[in-house]
């Protein structure tokens, strides 16, 4: 073990990426040192790079994260570090089990790609869900109509247009019960005309809970009741 300085321009192994680059330009005699793990100071084995950009052996980093489970920080810069969010690095002949024979230059890490989240709702019910949303927005437009100032003519016009479009939607989603749709929307308009502020929220909840079979039956009874109510109202309006 020589104690005299040999005059070689070799920086100590404890340095970050910045000085690593400097060594490269200095023409350092051990180029692989820039691939040193920041924990064991050896060439990184099964190399991983943290999101803050620091290189480690996977076993070293894993051991460090196990050592302090409540303080998961990068050993170099103390940034928060997540075991699940790391870049894995492969290069040929520099330790590690994954040997990539393609290039001497380490390939760039792959971009992050995640699968689209799969909805748990079956497609036929999803159609109904969309329908429910559209209907909700339709009935909301009815509320605003009611709030901005109400006239019988406007109301009937709005009622007619929204019910006819809803009827189309219902036919598309396979429910041909047109009467129910008339019943569902027309009282909406009437309620808003009367200024009942609690209704939109209720309609909202109703739309969201439609996947439950029991709720659907309940809903149908509700609709029937509304048809009845609507007919009564029409009777009152037109007869008197």
């Amino acid at each position: 073990m020589a104690t005299t300085s040999s005059g070689s321009k070799q920086t100590p192994p404890n340095r970050d990426e910045g000085s690593g680059d400097q060594k490269k330009t200095d023409g350092g005699n051990d180029k692989s040192q820039i691939y040193d793990c920041n924990i064991c100071f050896d060439t990184a084995k099964d190399a991983v790079i943290s999101m803050c950009g620091h290189l480690f052996c996977w076993p070293c980093l894993h051991q460090w994260l196990e050592t302090c489970p409540n303080r998961q920080t990068c050993p170099v810069c103390k940034a928060a570090i997540d075991k699940e969010v790391l870049k894995f690095f492969y290069w040929p002949g520099r330790g590690g089990s994954e040997i990539d024979p393609r290039d001497e230059v380490p390939p760039r890490p792959q971009g992050q790609r995640t699968e689209r989240e799969n909805s748990s709702i079956p497609p036929e019910q999803r159609g109904m869900f969309d329908d429910a949303i559209t209907r909700r927005s339709e009935s909301n437009s009815m509320w605003s109509l009611g709030e901005s100032g109400f006239s019988i003519g406007e109301f009937l016009l709005g009622l007619f247009s929204s019910t006819s479009s809803l009827g189309d939607q219902r036919l598309r989603s396979g429910n041909g019960f047109r009467g129910a749709d008339y019943g569902y929307t027309s009282p909406g308009g009437l309620f808003s005309a009367g200024g009942a502020q609690g209704r939109p929220g209720e309609a909202h909840a109703h739309g969201g809970a439609r996947f439950d079979a029991n709720v659907e039956i309940e809903d149908m009874f509700f609709k029937l009741f509304l048809i009845f109510a609507a007919l009564c109202l029409f009777y009152i309006l037109f007869v008197f």
Binding site: M1, A2, T3, S5, S6, S8, Q10, T11, P12, P13, N14, N38, I39, C40, F41, D42, H54, C60, Q63, W64, T67, T73, P75, V76, K78
Partner: protein, 125 residues
């Protein structure tokens, strides 16, 4: 270097580096360190232009088997213990990176620099 534990491998690397390129004012007692890789003595000079200019100290590093995941035990030893608010008369050093803020990316060299820096920032003894 075959047959060494990861901790010993790293200590060996650090020792070689310190011997090849010692930071200004520091010298590792290489004979002692080679005899026992887990117990090092470092001779340190007070930085120029500070209260400790011209003084010499000895630092002792004790490494456990879990180094570098566990911090080394670092104390001033010998007959000249620096007079400093964060250094007790028994040589114990109160420095966060030696306990809670230890990181395995720190090294003997960086700890030595931190201690010199800590001494140098002292305005009055």
């Amino acid at each position: 270097m075959a047959g060494l534990s990861p901790s010993e491998r790293r200590l060996q690397k650090e020792l070689m580096s310190l011997m090849k390129e010692p930071p200004p004012g520091m010298e590792v007692d290489s004979d002692k360190a080679e005899q026992n890789l887990n117990l090092w003595t470092i001779h340190m000079k007070g930085a120029e232009g500070t209260l400790y200019d011209g003084e010499e100290f000895q630092l002792q590093f004790k490494f456990g088997p879990k180094y570098p995941f566990d911090s080394p035990e670092v104390t001033f030893v010998g007959n000249n213990i620096p007079v400093h608010p964060h250094v007790y008369s028994n040589g114990h050093i109160c420095l966060s990176i030696l306990t809670d803020d230890w990181s395995p990316a720190l090294s003997v060299q960086s700890v030595c620099l931190s201690i010199v820096s800590m001494l140098s920032s002292c305005k009055e003894k």
